[in-house]
Amino acid sequence: MNNADTPTGVNYAPLSASPDSAWKPIVGHLCALGVSGFFFYFVYGKLMDPRQFAIDIGNYQLMSKYASACFAIVLPWWELGAALALLWPRTRPAGAILIGGMLLMFIGAVALAMSKGLDISCGCGGHGSGKAGWTTIGRNTLLLVGTCLSVLFMKRRATTAS
């Protein structure tokens, strides 16, 4: 299908003609809802006890305690903003970039803590979070997959020819 074929001159990024593609946007939305839901839950715990979260970040020994505390001030809000962006289709790709980047960072931090033999809380949802270990890495990997699917299965918008 090209410009010459459409009387209005509108180019459509082609959707698959297969009936199977009807479920993809639904799965995409569900993935976005699920990932955002998880992040809202984690953010709530961090905002309820921000000083504990600052301590939890510091325990990873990736930066100075001062820098960890500064990071703890903004990170929950980054997560909240990214989760909200993921819900709205217009900003979903931007939200996915942020969430994907943060999840990769969390996975790397936990892997590093495990390699150092640190016995610490993951700090995932504020105090009471589980230990930084394989469960954390597994969960974050699943969330990363969900984030990717939420974007890959997005229903694409019509684009007007210039």
Binding site: R51, V74, G81, A85, D119
Partner: protein, 183 residues
């Protein structure tokens, strides 16, 4: 793709501003980065005893031993201070580990729920008194975390970390005398 990256950067900037503003306006739980500096102790020497600066370790007079770190407690000091007035022990491990065994009279202040449980310490421990914090020993960070918070956030001036912690204590001949189960 570039527009999405720009949107992502915009979200980061906006939410950073919100975060800083909200933190500044907090009346409780405010993060003050200057209060999170850590005074990690210099580990004691391999013999486990506090190094004495006036007596060289090998007696030869040629190699002075490392000075004692005022923030570190060793087993001999823990034994000596046990039961003394104005000395308190704080167990930084999780509640289930504390329940399985702890120093008699110690206060459980888990590092993973520090601010939630700090009243246990504030209510009973005067700030000038000696506080010795311990956890599992080895790579356990909990005792350092709790000690830093007691010094920086809550004004305790005399805090030491028993670095080798429960791991060493459990092998001590004084173990049964110093510890109890439950709580």
């Amino acid at each position: 793709m570039l527009s999405h990256v720009k949107t992502a950067i915009l979200i980061l900037l906006l939410t950073s501003g919100v975060g800083v503003t909200v933190n500044a306006m907090r009346t409780t739980g405010k993060i003050e980065p200057s209060k999170f500096e850590s005074k990690r102790p210099i580990l004691p020497d391999a013999t486990g005893g506090q190094a004495n600066p006036t007596q060289p370790a090998d007696g030869s007079g040629t190699q002075p031993a490392a000075p004692a770190d005022p923030h570190v407690a060793v087993l001999s000091e823990v034994i000596a201070q046990f039961g003394q007035p104005n000395v308190y022990f704080v167990d930084a491990r999780k509640p289930d580990e504390y329940a399985q065994g702890h120093i008699k009279g110690s206060i459980n202040l888990p590092s993973t729920a520090l601010f939630e449980n700090i009243e246990r310490v504030i209510q009973y421990v005067p700030q000038p008194d000696l506080v010795i914090v311990y956890c599992g020993g080895g790579n356990c960070e909990a005792s350092h975390t709790v000690a830093d918070a007691l010094r920086n956030q809550f004004g305790y001036v005399n805090v030491k970390v028993y670095v080798k912690g429960w791991e060493e204590l459990s092998t001590s001949p004084k173990f049964a005398e110093l510890t109890e189960v439950g709580g």
